[in-house]
Amino acid sequence: MRELFRGFSLMYGPPGSGKTSLALYAAAQMGQKVMYVGFYETVDKVQEKIKGLGLDLSKFVVLDYLSISNVDVLLSNVVDEYEKTSPDVVILDGINALPQSREAAASIYRIFQAPTIAIGEEQIAGSHFAYIADTLLEVSQVFHRGARYRKIRVVKTRLGPSPGAEFYFTISRRGVRIVPRWSQSRLGKEVVASPSGKRVVFAEDVAESLVRAALRRGRPGVTAGSRVGVFLCEHPICLRISAAYLCDYMDNAKVGVLSTYPYIRTAAAHMGCGVNEEVVPASALGEDLALEEALERIGDAAVVFLYGLEEVLHMYGLERVAYVLDFIHSVLPESALLATFRGVEPVSELLHMFNTVWQYFPDRAVVVKSALGWPVRELKIRDEEGRLVFTLT
């Protein structure tokens, strides 16, 4: 987050978009002494916000100025307080209250040597402050199909990320977190979990085929930060395959299970393993809080299995599915995600969210996409005394 706020940053956006929380959180990371100067919010409200973000209140000097018409006097007093306080970071919340002249903007830029985060209303984007700012950030809050998205867009920068870069962010009592968009470039090399092979196994011909393709591994496993999309048919056998895989992973690694409805526990019990399923209804996934709390309960799992994403897809659309996956990876960047959809076709818009995509039918499994270069596109599934065997023939 420090990279976003370098030198004199000006952040603008509509009320309620999270500007003040973002500034408070970023400032607390940037220094030990933060001077908050506000022209609209009262000291009590700001202190409440600081505590609500889980920040140390003793780091902050909060000055809430009365609104006066003589803005030159106001500016002069703010500068006096800056000199007295000598902060590491300054927040100027409601910069529209200060004189909107080139002289005022230039004075603040030259006097405030500490990194400064100025916050303004949307019209400040065309002001002298925007012209002198090292970084210009547009903050917005968008509601789409009942889901909330908070976004930061880098409009201008002299010191930080490229202009045009856009990030989701989230605010909770655990603070503010940037939710980076996932890409295959973030894939780690380390295998974080491999299934035991007790319930699902590749036949010799499949393993040989993998070795011939010069893949390092002859059996499946997931790497740090990877994502596997699993598209299940509606037939109960497909659920059984999924449960079998889940149990095999649970034999060897710490696995988190997150579902939108009670889904996999019973099927997993039939496969001989007990699953602690965290259920977050799809209706609660329009906001971040329930998801964040569920992830807290899951802890640092090597693999997170997600079930019921078809509900998220139908309720909120593709953007939310991507957001949920990005959100989980922002909390658990080293974990692998196995995201399961039931009764959904693996359309191209979904494929780019994963590095590997499987589609299961009652009698076969199809490798729809593989960033690791799996040579096999279709495998038959045989039940051998309760064990599922994937084979070429």
Partner: protein, 92 residues
């Protein structure tokens, strides 16, 4: 002059000030009799920085009457400051 200064402040600002004075058990007439109480009440209710802001506004106002800024700066800080200010204004 203090009255003139006070009424030069905008109505919204005066409303806040009067509300805060009343909240502390004071009254506007008391403040007109003892002007140094203004900063006292403001500091108690709205912080030192806002008391300083009001003081700067007073100094700015007094400057229009060609009153020495050093005298005006201390006028609202204490009874002694106000006495010196009154003497200074009387001598003009």
């Amino acid at each position: 002059m203090f009255r003139a200064f006070y009424y030069s402040l905008g109505v919204p600002l005066r409303s806040v000030i009067e509300y805060k004075i009343r909240k502390r058990g004071g009254s506007l007439s008391e403040v007109f009799e003892r002007p140094w109480l203004l900063l006292h009440y403001i500091e108690l209710e709205l912080g030192r920085h806002n008391a300083e802001l009001l003081n700067t506004l007073f100094v700015d106002f007094a400057r229009k009457y060609k009153i020495d800024s050093r005298v005006a700066t201390e006028a609202l800080r204490s009874p002694e400051g106000w006495r010196r200010f009154a003497e200074y204004v009387g001598g003009l």
